[in-house]
Amino acid sequence: MQTDRRQPPDNHPKMYEETGCFDPNSMAEGGDDGISQSVKHHKEDDAAVSAIELELQKHLAFNVEDTHTQSISINSNTHSIHDPANQNHQILPPYEHSHSNWDSGVVSADHMGGFDQNENDQSQQSFINTDISSSFAQSQTPPLLNLLQFPRCTTSSMLPPNSSISFTNPDHHFPVPPPTSTDVLYDPLFHLNLPPQPQPPLFRELFQSIPHGYSFPASASRAAANSLFGEIGDERDATGAFYEDGDVGVHLDNRVLEFSRDLGCIGRRRETAGKPTKHFATERQRREQLNGKFKALKDLVPNPTKNDRASVVGDAIEYIKELLRTVNELKLLVEKKRCVRERRKRHRTEDDDEGMKPLVDPADQSYNSSLRSSWLQRKSKDTEVDVRIIDDEVTIKLVQRKKIDCLLFVSRVLDELQLDLHHVAGGHIGDYYSFLFNTKIYEGSSVYAGSIANKLIEVMDKQYAAVPPTSCAY
């Protein structure tokens, strides 16, 4: 069947999910499904196709047509894996690892289609898998994706037609039992007894650590997030999702195989039948991705309160404001310090010249004229700290579960931080101590709100840990 949504030629291999309706002919068309362009030009496409079918029947991924092993690998974007010379049975451990996980869940047919990058393939191995992945990996993978080490199961394009190919979660289904008769889910890597890959959690971390600044393609990230949860028998139809986001031009999208949860099976190619399922799958993935983002936001904020979306956003707002205040405060402090240094230097060099002093002071004034102000709150399990700074006065509110003699410790900490205690008020309130400290910063000290709060929390927590949890002597 025609895979209608074949990717635009060349460097935009898109979704590999389109595999369902893999169209062998399209290969001939030069499917760019992530296969390096060379595939297109491969004259042996037909051979490849037939080989694929052969493979399918055999449930073996191995006989990748050597023909197919193209030349693809020769691409510059190279992985050493593609080195035809040696790679036959050596799978680069990292790649293997990175890909094998995926591959385990992948229809063997994939591997089939997979390009054995080595020309001489005798790959009876999962080598194919790695090749496949690597082929994708190398060819137009932007460096970032390489970094991500997504196993590129690009082979979607290579999947045989009408196989309802299920991509299984490599983590959970290793090896993958073939869901249907037509599906080829045999994991060619299985026999290698590869250790289970820690990929899925890695994905999540990677996903979360991905710099979002460059408009990470939604689909790709979704794929990343979702791929972890792919189920057996899911059809890959997530292509809808990809296309929805319209990140066509971005390489990244295409590199990540998106596993659809949708059992509807039909490949993206079959738009008609797939419409409702496609839409649904997209929506679900979109939601999951969104949830992932909210979670990431929550993890960034220091004192997360509730777990619902509105509070997460509210906390994020407060945190951003706090960060801005801190940045301003720090900038001011750095400026002040620099200017004090300058002044000292000048004094040292111009000791004799009394006349210079007055000149220096006005310059100083301009730097110090802006009032330093800052405020932040920190919470820990038993302690809450609120620090406000205006100019050189620091007001600290402390609420602490009644367990230790906090006054003493706080007082010590304040001394360390070079804060002059002027006023203390507070006492017991129910289960808690509540105190208010008014302090002044000694000249020359450059503490900032964050450091005060953090130090206090740290000391308090340490003390709590040190006290045996029994007696409340009061």
């Binding site: 649904f280 004090v340 002027h422």
Partner: protein, 199 residues
């Protein structure tokens, strides 16, 4: 297809609770609709606020707002780290300030000027509780040392208040002995006077 069906049902449920038809659909739908609408509005307002804070925004949909916020927060955190490291470095390489000495000298003078005298008062309150009041010259770290001395003698201080005025520090507190024997006010007074002199 069943799978799909159920999944879509589920999606229906999660997304639009009101749509699901139950027995008493009318009530259910309307009651939830309002609440749901309010919830959504609250979230959307907050998202707008978030967007207004973040300077670099790409697209204007929910997902990208959150993404951009994440990026921005990380960027700010990095800036904070850089600046604070810089500050630390400057701090360590700079010279010690001589100011504190001046403050202390001033404190003594201030006290004299205003006629405040150093004093220690102790009163018995309710059995083994004592109320103490100390006026002393303000010195750097004096309060800490006082508190440490108290702790080492086994006194527990509750309801402590400290205030500073014109170079003098006033400490008033309620003292409980840890060892609950009756403490003589006079003894404590002398003890305190010694302590104050020593710190």
């Amino acid at each position: 297809m069943e799978f799909v069906g159920s999944a879509s049902t589920q999606s229906c449920i999660t997304q639009k609770r009101g749509r699901r038809v139950y027995g008493d659909d009318r009530d259910f739908k309307s009651k939830n609709l309002t609440a749901e609408r309010r919830r959504r509005e609250k979230l959307s307002n907050r998202l707008l606020t978030l967007r207004s804070l973040v300077p670099i925004i790409t697209n204007m949909n929910k997902a990208t707002i959150v993404e951009d916020a994440i990026t921005y927060i990380e960027k700010l955190q990095m800036t904070v780290k850089v600046l604070s490291d810089q500050l630390l470095e400057m701090e360590s390489s700079s010279e010690e300030s001589e100011r504190p000495r001046n403050d202390e000298i001033n404190a003594a003078e201030e006290m004299k000027k205003h006629g405040i005298e150093e004093k220690v008062e102790v009163t018995n309150v309710d059995g083994c509780k004592l109320w103490i009041r100390i006026i002393s010259e303000k010195k750097r770290s004096r309060i800490t040392k006082f508190l440490e001395a108290m702790a080492s003698h086994g006194f527990e201080l509750s309801d402590t208040n400290v205030t500073t005025f014109k170079g003098a520090t006033l400490i008033s507190s309620c003292l409980n002995g840890v060892y609950s024997y009756k403490i003589e006010a006079e003894q404590v007074k002398e003890l305190l006077q010694e302590i104050i002199k020593s710190i």
